[in-house]
């Protein structure tokens, strides 16, 4: 009965951490929330092992603890080697490069040639029929 209440508290905390992960302004807030979510998963599995009367769940909890730790360190190392997150502390997305006008320039090259090629394609299509 006590552990049902503990399971409820852990579930509420997991949902709060999920909200923080969704609206955390920087990447590090999200990493923090995901780390917290993983730790609460370990606790939830341990409590469920007692409530359900199956101590097999404790093995799952141990595996979750290992995977969570390795995952958080891997994500942090990834962002450290990129030397910056994709967002500034104020939450603005920082664009690494100005968008090149490549596709744009390609799009407005000579509509006449496009029309001509389309006409030639139409002619080529109509050729077998003729």
């Amino acid at each position: 009965m006590i552990f049902l209440g503990a399971i409820l508290a852990i579930a509420v905390t997991m949902s709060l951490a999920l909200v923080r992960a969704l609206l955390g302004p920087s990447v590090y807030d999200r990493v923090l929330a995901v780390n917290m979510f993983g730790t609460k998963t370990v606790l939830l599995l341990s409590c469920m092992a007692f409530v359900a009367g199956r101590s097999d769940y404790l093995d799952l909890a141990l595996a979750y603890a290992l995977i969570n730790f390795i995952g958080v360190l891997a994500v942090l190392e990834f962002f450290r080697q990129r030397e910056r997150a994709t967002e500034t502390p104020e939450g603005h997305i920082r664009h690494p490069k100005p968008a090149t006008a490549h596709a744009h320039a390609h799009a407005d090259t000579d509509p006449a040639t496009d029309a001509a090629s389309g006409a030639s394609e139409a002619a080529g299509d109509s050729e077998p029929g003729a």
Binding site: F3, A9, L32, N35, D59
Partner: protein, 133 residues
């Protein structure tokens, strides 16, 4: 209801309380570092209380050994993850909010950072300049 059940119930209720408080704090604190403070509360105190209550309930068995392993692992990994997160956030330019009465200029956080050691440029023969001297 003997004293073991009462102790277990008290630890379970306290653990659930601390976990809930840490979750609310991680959602509502104003800063990344204060959020880390709230989240590490649930990682240490809440986890230890709930796992201790479970250990009391399971008694002397293999399950208690697994719970001890989980507790030790959480106690080792949670500070490491918090340290790595705080260091990465400081390196990327996050600064904690300081109180209004403090002088933020006197608080030089750049001295606290752990950076990659900057190796001097190797010469043409591949020997560093310090070793030439």
């Amino acid at each position: 209801m003997n004293w073991v059940d009462i102790l277990c119930a008290a630890m379970g209720i306290a653990g659930g309380f601390f976990v809930l408080v840490g979750g609310i704090g991680a959602l509502r604190m104003p800063d990344l570092f204060t959020r880390m403070h709230a989240a590490s509360l649930t990682d240490t105190l809440g986890s230890l209380l709930i796992l201790s209550a479970l250990m009391i309930q399971f008694g002397l068995s293999l399950a208690t050994l697994k719970l001890v392993a989980i507790a030790i692992f959480l106690l080792f990994t949670s500070p490491v993850a918090s340290y790595a997160l705080a260091n990465a956030a400081l390196l990327s330019g996050h600064r904690p909010i300081v109180a209004r009465g403090d002088q933020p200029d006197e608080l030089d956080l750049d001295d606290l950072l752990i950076r990659e050691p900057e190796l001097p440029e190797a010469g043409a023969d591949g020997v560093r300049p310090e070793q030439n001297r």
